[in-house]
Subunit: 337 residues, 2 copies
């Protein structure tokens, strides 16, 4: 799958910034690929890109409109379909990370055919997977895990991959969600794989590699999230990480979308090791990545110091303070590049 850029990012009329995390993630890592954002009345999300209309974006040279926002359950609201048809009629391809296939909606399929434009469903792929085998592969792997969904697992993995490359490590990013696929141009939206093949798909995504190569695998969900723990479990077993980073948002009390309380960082570390050692007995936690956006800078530093001391591990906010301390930890534990 090759998605043409520049992108127009479609945010629809979502009610909070988290629902537009796909678009925001793309802007974080590929701002130079993004020409503008398209927002409908009532949209509460903002990527910081200039607001443009679809026709305006097309006339400025955009190649693909990316559906950069998502509703609960991944459904496509009827009134977004109008915008998608407009984009196809304006000569753009459309790429989506929603569960529903764009071509399954008659108006969209007909508009794509009428205009000879491509529909990319990033959550669907033609790859077939084997069931997971659980045998140890060569090379080294890092997985980001979380106390919840939407706590920075993708960002942390991308930052870690970039920092490791900058420091001379051989490393690559393995995308497991739609945004990661938009950013890296490859990968699997793991949550759309048939349940029997979750671990097998994760194994396919992080295959045998050179012994000194690091694959940095984007985590999904949480072992403690009642909607998505199955995905997290299969990804943990399949990616068989040597090292993992726990991602956390300290002001959240309930898990996203449900009434379940957030687990503690300690619970997540213990459960990840307990489950992860099934496929990698040497699994260990090498750091804690905290989304401190809701804290002022003094509070953030104080929180990170407290957490770092409590667990005897590097703790940082990768967005705010960088991730070099975790690369230092990798060097100390596994050797410099």
């Amino acid at each position: 799958m090759e998605i043409a850029h520049p992108y127009l990012l479609f945010l629809g009329d979502v009610h909070d910034a988290l629902a537009a995390k796909t678009a925001i993630g793309i802007v974080d890592w590929r701002k130079d690929w993004c020409l503008g954002q398209v927002r409908l009345d009532g949209c509460a999300a903002d990527t910081g890109l200039p607001d443009v209309s679809i026709v305006e974006g097309a006339s400025k040279g955009a190649k693909t409109m990316v559906i950069g926002a998502v509703n609960a359950g991944g459904r496509l609201p009827d009134h977004w379909i109008t915008s998608i048809v407009e984009a196809l009629d304006a000569g753009l391809d459309v790429a989506s990370g929603l569960h529903v296939r764009l071509a399954s909606i008659d108006a969209i399929r007909e508009a794509a055919e009428r205009n000879g434009k491509a529909l990319h469903d990033v959550r669907h792929n033609s790859e077939t997977f084997a069931t997971g085998k659980g045998t140890k592969r060569t090379g080294k792997r890092i997985l980001t895990v979380g106390t919840d969904c939407s706590v920075g697992k993708k960002y942390t993995a991308l930052a870690m991959d970039k920092a490791m490359n900058d420091r001379g490590f051989s490393s690559s990013f393995c995308a497991t969600g739609q945004t990661g696929v938009f950013i890296s141009g490859r990968g699997i939206a793991l949550d759309a794989v048939v349940a029997d093949f979750i671990a097998g798909a994760a194994e396919w995504l992080s295959p045998d590699s050179e012994e000194n190569h690091w694959q940095v695998v984007e985590g999904q969900g949480s072992l403690f999230h009642p909607s998505f723990a199955g995905v997290s479990m299969g990804l943990l077993h399949g990616s068989q990480p040597d090292a993992f980073i726990v991602c956390h948002e300290p002001t959240r009390t309930k898990m996203r979308g449900v009434e379940t309380p957030l687990p503690t960082i300690r619970q997540v570390i213990d459960m990840t090791i307990q489950c992860g050692k099934l496929t990698n007995p040497d699994i260990q936690c090498i750091g804690i990545a905290v989304n401190t956006a809701a804290l002022d800078e003094d509070e953030a530093w104080a929180y990170l110091a407290k957490i770092g001391e409590e667990f005897g591990l590097p703790a940082t906010d990768p967005v705010r303070f960088g991730i070099d301390v975790m690369v230092d930890k990798i060097s100390a534990e596994y050797g410099a590049p």
Copy 2:
């Protein structure tokens, strides 16, 4: 989905009895629906039904040929397709629990159309699910879990449901795999649900019910199986059992299809409680169901006595010695019917 009987059970040429567990399970519970078995050269499985040819079965009144055996990964070997086309041409419907859709194979789809016969893909369903919510529902639930795949989780759930009904409890069986669906005429093949919706599908399958009604949910895989633990985790969270039964095969050393050693019963109990309490804080183990087929009767009784004492729980082989001791335990813990 309504599957017409009598069935002809197709075993293909599978190399062991476990690979024909779908057919064997159907015979265990619905022998009166089964007219015969169809086996190809080299088949090492046997349901005990009379061997018949497809044409012979059709002439005796069979309505549906059920693909009652499965290869690793659920693929449909090319030489089985010939038999399926023969069945359709002989006037039978065909029902399959394989991952591949029968209609996706041209020769099969054409034969079905040519003969006006139905193709049932039990692993696929048109139901759409929400993501799991994790909130407590009314009624009571039992889940069977395992130290491995293919250790009797389905059989134990069916036996428990039957014994509870016989003893005056209000109970129903919730099928989560293809055989269970063939036996009960309803349910979901959970391993074929898209990963994001595993827990949601399990919630759909075991909805709110009368406070004194028991839903007996067929377990899948094992939290310790590196291929399928994601499915087991989502099913555990979604079915939010009050009570669970651990199923075990004492002579097995490696998990089915992989090199991973079997976990202990203690590990499975502890991990099931640890994970299961996320959606049901009162979850408890109420018994251990052992497949003692590889032991002689004295050995079997001795093993069950040892296990029962070690865990302070009823231990039985439901096939060999019945499951009344577990119904007694349910009565003692939750009250008589």
